[in-house]
Symmetry: C2
Subunit: 285 residues, 2 copies
């Protein structure tokens, strides 16, 4: 099970936000670690789907056998139009839906607001042997939460530490975090919003609030920078994926996901029954 | 949006269990309504995935816009190895996972057993605008429930009527039922079980209980016959899909699913905002 030789540096290494990380230094049109162009990327994405599917099937088999110890949790955060939906459709969509637990976090309900911000998140952590996908997450509470001052500054401040503890605790219980920020440029967002407004089959993806958030672009970038700085840990590192080129973003997230799965080293579970005896039983029917 | 001309009779018509239906008259190797062979079927499955994906995206768009009135619920029942998993992977897996709600019903938990058998089912009915998939269902309670006498005969008897009422009620609230029995032959099951026992990457799919159920084959066929007779209604008809040929079963279920979606006639929702005004707002940012 090898990775394409077109990666000069593993995606998990090339994209990881380490100490001293600066979002302003990441070019949204760049393709870190990957030496190929778009046609190569499309080819590698198709090949990678096979690898991902195989890893996922082994993990799922372990979950059925009750021997799965870990799970992988892909967490996606991004500005509007950055391509979360495309990742879910094209990367996650390539594996068996039976092994995937997808959670889309919307504006909190009244019930959710009555609890701590991590309450609704904890309830959707994936079971062992599954791939969890978070479309938005608890980071909304330090992103829009911060930009729109939806909570007092000291509460926002408290949340960074609470997130670090929460994620470390989940990691200790077997969850491999794949935290991804899809990083799109302000200019590319304009192009994509304009396309949504132009096409009758895309207009449903647009809502006027998108512009309100767009007008706070710089504040959001600051909120992302702070969140990444404060919460990119060994137990749950952040990866910032340049997303102006959709083919690259999909390929990179697929690679991150496959590496996390490979890290669990899933094996076909040994049968917990006597194979020869069962063959004899079957023959007798 | 047309269907392949290789269907001489629509799958929904060719496979429907009507009054007088007899399971014993269905040949598991047959390909009702379809005039092509395997290579045609594989080609039509790929084309059908595009049609299904388009229909599903429109329906999903309506659910986002809050204008979706209906949903489609694919319910799969079958003897072991008949191919439920393959249908989920290859037919359902071709559409955007964001629009799918998959529920796999296992042996009931203690909590579930403390309620009426339909309690856990009602909680998993799909939301408007979604495709629900039931991998097994409330029919287990009149299939294994009957064969293994897990409930008294009068309770089993009561359940048929309760199911008809339950399904009619759900249909009245916008759920389009696509109830499918994948019909495999006893001989084909032997071949597939033998393959599972032979291959280390398949052994996890086997469990010794499969043989116990296989030994009751005729009783199961009777239980299916009775269940289909008693619960194939206009609101929630049964379709019996010959399943010895995997390519046909997948193609037929895809066709049934696409037809049900097309029946909802999903349209791109009209924007609930002023498009020109939003274009101007975007241009100003």
């Amino acid at each position: 099970m090898t990775t394409s030789s077109r990666w000069s540096t593993a995606a998990s290494e090339a994209l990881r936000a380490r100490a001293g990380f600066a979002l302003t230094h990441v070019d949204p049109r760049s393709t870190p670690g990957y030496t190929g162009g778009k046609p190569d990327g499309v080819e590698d994405l198709a090949e990678g789907a096979t690898r991902l599917g195989e890893l996922q099937e082994r993990l799922f088999a372990q979950s059925v056998a009750g021997t799965a110890e870990g799970s992988v949790l892909l967490l996606l955060q991004a500005m509007d139009t950055a391509g979360k939906g495309g990742i879910v459709r094209n990367v996650v969509g390539a594996v068996d839906p039976q092994g995937v637990e997808l959670a889309a976090f919307k504006k909190p309900t009244d019930e959710e607001l009555a609890h701590d911000f991590l309450w609704r998140i904890g309830r959707r952590l994936p079971e062992p042997g599954r791939i969890g996908v978070f479309d938005r997450s608890h980071y909304e509470d330090v992103l829009i939460g911060r930009v729109r001052a939806l909570a007092p500054p000291e509460e926002i401040e408290r949340r960074y530490g609470a997130i670090v503890d929460f994620e470390a605790d989940a990691a200790a219980r077997g969850i491999r975090w794949v935290k991804v920020m899809l990083h799109i440029s302000r200019e590319e967002q304009r192009t994509r919003l304009a396309e949504r407004l132009d096409r009758p089959d895309k207009q449903w993806k647009y809502n006027p609030g998108d512009i309100d958030e767009r007008e706070r672009w710089d504040e959001y970038m600051t909120a992302y920078q702070v969140a990444i700085e404060r919460t990119s840990t060994d137990a749950a590192p952040w990866h910032v994926v340049p997303a102006d080129r959709k083919w690259y973003a999909r390929l990179a997230v697929q690679e991150l996901l496959a590496d996390a799965l490979a890290g669990l080293d899933p094996h076909w579970p040994a049968p917990d029954y006597d194979v020869e005896r069962e063959k004899a039983r079957l023959a007798a029917t």
